[in-house]
């Protein structure tokens, strides 16, 4: 008679191994990746590698990694595909999987700093070349209240007005003279939507926090604001005449002029699709939208123009940058800063970088890529001269934007921007979807919501 023990042993072993395997698997998840690379090299993980669906950008990035490693033999780069995904950021941080150098939008540093989720680079950044040539207001976006620095800006935009030159021509408007005031935008939008066949004169966002983002731009363009400091506290600052004026424009264009189309609750991708399909005259955006429109919708650079922000009293200033993992070692932080400076903030590589774009038949001359406008002084002049020399897109199409942005005030996004924008989405939605929306009531209600959000700002 055989014992039950002998028969069940393999199965029991399997169960134990399975359990052990699971435990080991979980332990492996907790690996913080802080191990040094072989040969005494410092190995750093970095985000920002473009996806394979963008072969040109991916090629440039990968070539840069190789070149950087060749010129910095003590550093090994492990690139990770993708940019900022708020949905996975905290999980990656909690699981020790957040990259040593990670990408952020300008809306996020304040909260990341308040939650101690970025390394303090105040001291380490002092040795970064050309840091003094960066626009100080962009660096301020990465500082806390006491002035400590937690990241570096690598791209910057100011909001303007993207418009379709063919639709301007069809509507009898001069594409070389885009509107400079909101009254002119309204008049032009009426003429464009009068073309019929589903053509929309002007479109705006109102969904997924993008409505609040654009409402902020509207306010800035009229000399208004979203939030102001009242002593030590931040308070909402849009329940006033400026706020009412901005929303009244939107309301009138939507309901009186019928120049904004029937479909609302739009976000960036919807509006870009409309523009790419030749169904939209104008929308508020930065010049970095132009390559997207051309590449995704097989368009031509000649068909699009960018005007300066209508209203002319101010514009929203946004962008992106890189921060460093607070759990990274000082060696990794030093190596990370070297990578950011060499790859993104390097005047010595301006010409080479621009040449890569020219060789790849990519746009040069737009007020955005390949060298973003994060500079001031002599470095900025050097960059502009090089871009003008190699320009392969019609620079005149963006002249209005360039002329305006150098004159008007650029304001950064409000504190706790994403939460503020979420509260303001509903105001944009109300005005664009309800003809009888009570603007005063909407502003007052949103103001109390935003005050609640701003009360949490540390």
């Amino acid at each position: 008679m055989s014992s039950p023990w002998s028969r069940s042993l393999p199965r029991r072993m399997f169960c134990l191994l399975a359990a052990g395997g699971l435990a080991l698997g979980v332990a492996a998840c907790g690996d913080d990746g802080n191990a040094a690379a072989p040969g005494g090299k410092v190995k750093i993980t970095v985000t920002g590698q473009p996806p394979t669906s963008q072969p040109f950008e991916r090629g440039v990035f990968d070539a840069d990694v190789k070149e950087f490693e060749a010129s910095h033999p003590n550093i090994q780069i492990e690139p990770h595909e993708g940019f900022m995904d708020p949905k996975t950021f905290s999980a990656k941080l909690a699981g020790g999987q957040l990259e040593d150098v990670y990408y952020v939008y300008f809306t996020d540093p304040a909260q990341i700093i308040a939650r101690h989720q970025a390394a303090d680079i105040t001291e380490a950044s002092k040795s970064v070349p050309h840091i003094g040539d960066l626009k100080p207001e962009l660096l301020d976006n990465f500082r806390d209240a006491s002035g400590k620095l937690y990241g570096l800006p690598t791209m910057n935009y100011t909001m303007g007005l993207v418009y379709s030159r063919p639709l301007f021509q069809k509507a009898g408007l001069d594409p070389n003279k885009p509107p400079t005031t909101w009254d002119e935008v309204r008049e032009d939008a009426k003429k464009i939507s009068a073309l019929g066949n589903g053509t929309v004169g002007y479109a705006d966002y109102s969904k997924n926090n993008q409505g609040g983002w654009h409402m902020t731009s509207w306010l800035y363009s009229m000399g208004g604001d979203i939030a102001r400091k009242d002593g030590e506290k931040w308070v909402a600052d849009f329940d006033n005449e400026k706020g009412k004026q901005a929303l009244q424009y939107l309301h009138d264009m939507r309901w009186t002029d019928n120049s904004m189309g029937a479909k609302q609750l739009l976000e960036a991708t919807d509006v870009q699709r409309m523009m790419g399909a030749g169904q939209l005259g104008m929308y508020m955006a930065a010049p970095d939208n132009i390559p997207t429109l051309v590449k995704q919708f097989n368009g031509k650079y000649e068909d699009y123009g960018v005007a300066g922000m209508p209203g002319g009293q101010g514009t929203l200033l946004g962008g992106e940058g890189y921060m460093l993992n607070p759990k990274a070692s000082p060696e990794k932080i030093k190596a990370g800063l070297e990578w950011i400076q060499w790859k993104y903030l390097n005047p010595d590589r301006f010409e080479k970088h621009i040449q890569q774009y020219v060789d790849g038949k990519q746009p040069v001359g737009l007020p955005a890529e390949p060298t973003p406008d994060v500079w001031q002084g002599a470095v900025r002049d050097q960059q502009l001269a090089l871009k003008a020399k190699f320009a392969n897109v019609p620079a005149t199409n963006y002249q209005s934007y360039v002329d305006t942005t150098s004159k008007i005030k650029g304001s950064i996004e409000p504190p706790n921007a994403q939460q503020v924008y979420a509260a303001l989405d509903s105001v944009m939605q109300a005005v664009l979807t309800d003809q009888n929306a009570n603007i005063d009531q909407q502003l007052s209600s949103a103001s109390s919501k935003v005050n609640g959000v701003l009360a949490q700002v540390k």
Binding site: V26, N208, L265, S448
Partner: protein, 324 residues
């Protein structure tokens, strides 16, 4: 002398001589021996059970316990969590959207019950009556369930498009004015309920059909012989016979619809004018837009408690009704 029954429980091998020399086992010892033997016999089963329990503990129970703890903590995933008592809850109560989200969720649940409960039942009754091409009609009703929820939402978004959308084009073709559907705060929630009902009614209908299939045909024959019409057969045969399934599905549907997320997230983003912000959508914003996992966990705990209390109350009520 031990009885044959007790001897079989003694340690193996047992000989007649050892049996003779051993004193009779006490009841406590017999129980111990019995237990040991059962353990030996079922060792493999216990091993597998342990592995399953471990998986459940790691991936189901631990996250639940962690979620409850998070409700009372402030976390940044860099430093150790700090206990903040009920701060996360008070932050939620201070948020004007909190009440709006609960109101909208209850409205969605109410509307989803009106349509999502009645329509599948009526469809099942009709399908049960069909004599020809039964399989085709059943498949046709079930087809929407096979579509991924996001695809369904995007497809209906185009149906509802106030410009060139399917519905407005169809209405326009017969000279009727189009609707604003998702773009109006008065119709947006109802529009989402239609999508949800359309997408999920296939599964519910099949369960009703299965329940209807268990009703003995003699009951209907007897009812017909007694002169019962269709409504009377429905009332006196179908309803009482499917009562249990109806009650269970009602509970499941309420629990599921209170957790509506995909439709508002994909189709409206909570708009217009916050009219489709639901509890789960707000919870999502707290977690992944505001990165405030403490408040998000507090919100999920509140939803869990609300649904738990409701389920307990419902089960108690139905049990009482059964007894009476």
């Amino acid at each position: 002398m031990s009885s044959p029954r007790s001897s079989s429980l003694l340690a193996w091998p047992a000989t007649s001589s050892s049996r003779a020399r051993r004193p009779a086992a006490s009841p406590a010892e017999r129980r111990r021996v019995r237990l040991r033997r059962k353990l030996k016999e079922n060792l493999t089963a216990y091993g597998l059970l342990c592995a399953a329990l471990l998986v459940f503990a790691m991936f189901s129970w631990y996250p639940i316990v962690r979620g409850v703890l998070l409700s009372f903590q402030q976390v940044d995933f860099v430093n150790a969590p700090t206990w903040v008592g009920f701060d996360n809850f008070s932050r939620l109560f201070d948020d004007p959207l909190f009440g709006v989200a609960w109101r909208n969720t209850l409205l969605f649940t109410g509307l989803a019950l009106v349509f999502g409960f009645a329509v599948p039942f009526l469809t099942a009754v009709l399908l049960n009556e069909i004599r020809h091409a039964k399989a085709f009609f059943r498949l046709a009703v079930y087809l929407p369930v096979m579509l991924p929820p996001v695809v369904t939402a995007l497809m209906w978004k185009w149906f509802y498009d106030p410009g060139p959308g399917l519905f407005n084009s169809a209405l326009g073709a017969v000279g009727l004015p189009g609707g604003q559907w998702l773009d109006s705060s008065t119709t947006a929630m109802l529009s989402l309920v239609f999508v949800s009902t359309w997408a999920n009614m296939g599964s519910t209908t099949l369960i009703y059909l299965a329940a209807l299939g268990t009703i003995p045909g003699e009951l209907y024959e007897a009812a017909e012989l007694d002169g019962a019409g269709m409504w009377q057969r429905l009332r006196h045969v179908t309803f009482p016979q499917t009562r249990f399934v109806l009650l269970v599905l009602l509970l499941l549907q309420i629990v599921a619809t209170m957790q509506v997320f995909t439709e508002p997230y994909v189709m409206t983003g909570g708009g217009p004018d916050d009219s489709t912000v639901t509890v789960l959508l707000l919870l999502y914003r707290y977690a992944f837009v505001y990165n405030d996992f403490g408040s998000a966990s507090a919100m999920s705990l509140l939803l869990f408690i609300a649904l738990g209390v409701f389920s307990a109350w419902y089960v108690r009520l139905t049990r009482k009704a059964d007894q009476s």
